[in-house]
Amino acid sequence: MKHERAMERRQFLKGTLGAASLVALAGCDNLSQSSWFPSILSKAEKLTEGVQRAITPANALAREYGDADISPVFPANGNTDPGTEEYAEHLAQKFAQWTVMVGGLVQTPTSWTLAALKELPSRTQITRHDCVEGWSAIGKWTGVPLADLMHQVQPLPNARYAVFYCADVDEDGVPYYESMALADCYHPQTILAYELNDAPLDIPHGAPIRLRFERQLGYKQAKYVTMIELVETFSGIRGGKGGYWEDDQGYEWYAGI
């Protein structure tokens, strides 16, 4: 009698737990697809950004590694070839006509050719690239500190973000772009890189110019950069979330973790 009851109880428990877990799983999927729940989840992004910015000294450097630490293979992710006719032309001319224009909310909008950028003082850093997928690769980057360009163009007081426009488009023709807080443009390790591991950038890694923003994840590191626009808000730009992956996939704009 007691045994039977225990059996029943066990059956009941098993059934209830099984059903509950199925309902819970389906519930999580429904929540993920609702409009209100992800907006609650995304509150954590603001909290993370606030706390991380508060506890991280503005000029704290990302760890720099030695030559021996460089990854034998540095994987290239995202778009690995812009593939447009325009880009093919630049490639044929060895990027002689490639310019990076810095404008928007600045005193002196300025354009630099690739050659002009290479003449500016450069910085070389061996740093770790952390992909949102979970892998890391170490590479040696050489480029011009973005802070130097900022001093040249002189941002206006209402400029808060830098938006990076890129030459690459996805399969559907949607162009890549990214954005970062203006303060991060002045970080000593934030550079417009033109060399990886002592060689000019190759196409998969963003030739001829890409951003290195060492304190955030890989998808913030815009490749094939053509224009940097300083803005007060990016809510009116494209999808309004400040970047291709943010608009398209729902990745966080603040990619510090």
């Binding site: 007691k2 009851r5 428990l13 819970a24 799983l25 999580c28 999927d29 993920s32 992800p38 609650i40 989840l41 995304s42 509150k43 954590a44 992004e45 909290l47 993370t48 991380q52 506890i55 991280t56 000294p57 704290a60 450097l61 990302a62 760890r63 590694y65 630490d69 990854s71 034998p72 293979v73 994987p75 770790r128 952390d130 992909c131 949102v132 997928e133 979970g134 892998w135 890391s136 690769a137 170490i138 060492e214 304190r215 955030q216 994840l217 992956w245 996939q249 729902g250 990745y251 966080e252 510090g256 973790i257």
Partner: protein, 304 residues
């Protein structure tokens, strides 16, 4: 024993479906053969709240964590991930006949885990749909769940630890005493044959239970939080020693994963023990605070 407050001795009807006669335990020894039932206030409210919040928090964190893992289903040591040298990887592999198999590789040893790991329900994915949040492969959404509930767990954990120290729950109930530790051999033997403490002994945590809680609270939980933070490139600039103590970002990711499965193991053992030591009594005590203890008759203790 502040948190195991006696309500005086009362009676409890219908415990485990048994008939328990009304007993008055004020004075004289009772000649009855039925066990005496005492109600004990075992878990105070903050502990109960914190405990039940942890249930969804941990489940969500584990399952959304597996979603994130699926985006790059391999673990490494050191700072970088050389893809030809993973410690562990879970991959879909096509055989010569064109069939898909899930292959899990651990330190170079390959295991066919088709159906669960690497390839399940016709999909190429490391952990199966039933183990991840969301069930479909959506890294961005998995990260949103994970990074929200990571805060929830940390805040709940800090709330619990603050309470547990101030109320002396840690010192009185969780910290093993010297006598506890000397009895560890017997405790292990008792656990192996599923013999659990009764009577007075059931009112307090046994030594293995204490050690399990202490290790989870003060070793595994801080480890999983710190290794999680060590994966943040921003935190690594603020606290570079995190990379040093864990042996690199990829090593931290591996330790994070091991700590996760330590939690899974703890949860399994915890739930099994809850079921084996009186499921409804245990659940009630974590819901209402009140736990019942059956006493053998004094003097009859040594019979068995």
């Amino acid at each position: 024993m502040a948190s195991l407050v006696h309500e005086g001795t009362g009676t409890d009807q219908g415990l485990e479906g048994e008939q328990v006669p009304e007993l008055v335990t004020m004075s004289k020894p009772l000649p009855l053969k039925e066990p005496l039932v005492e109600r004990v206030y075992r878990h105070r409210l903050p502990v109960r709240i914190s405990h039940w919040l942890n249930v969804p928090f941990l489940i969500i964190l584990i399952m959304s964590g597996l979603q994130i893992f699926n985006a790059h289903p391999a673990l490494y040591w050191g700072d970088r991930s050389d893809r030809d040298q993973p410690l562990v990887s879970i991959r879909p592999v096509q055989t010569e006949s064109g069939e898909m198999r899930g292959i899990t590789t651990i330190f170079g040893h390959k295991f066919d885990t088709t159906g669960v790991l690497g390839y399940s329900d016709g999909k190429r994915r490391a952990f199966p749909a039933w183990a991840t949040i969301p069930s479909a492969k959506v890294l961005a959404m998995g990260r949103q769940w994970h990074l929200f509930f990571a805060w929830a767990l940390v805040i709940n954990g800090l709330f619990f630890l603050t309470y547990a120290f101030i109320s002396r729950h840690v010192a009185r109930d969780l910290a093993p005493t010297g006598m506890d530790l000397r009895g560890i051999g017997k405790a292990i033997k008792d656990h192996l044959v599923l013999r659990h403490p009764k009577g007075e002994e059931a009112k307090r945590y046994n030594v293995l239970q204490k050690l399990a809680y202490v290790v989870i609270l003060f070793v595994v939980a801080p480890l999983i939080v710190l290794t999680g933070l060590a994966m943040s490139p921003t935190i690594d600039t603020a606290f570079p020693w995190l990379l040093t103590i864990f042996g690199g970002r990829q090593a931290a990711r591996t330790i994070h994963f091991i700590a996760c499965f330590t939690f899974v193991g703890f949860i399994v053992v915890h739930v099994v023990e809850v079921i084996l030591t009186g499921f409804f009594n245990n659940i009630r005590s974590m819901v209402t605070g009140w736990f019942t203890v059956k006493h053998e008759h004094e003097g009859a203790n040594h019979e068995a």
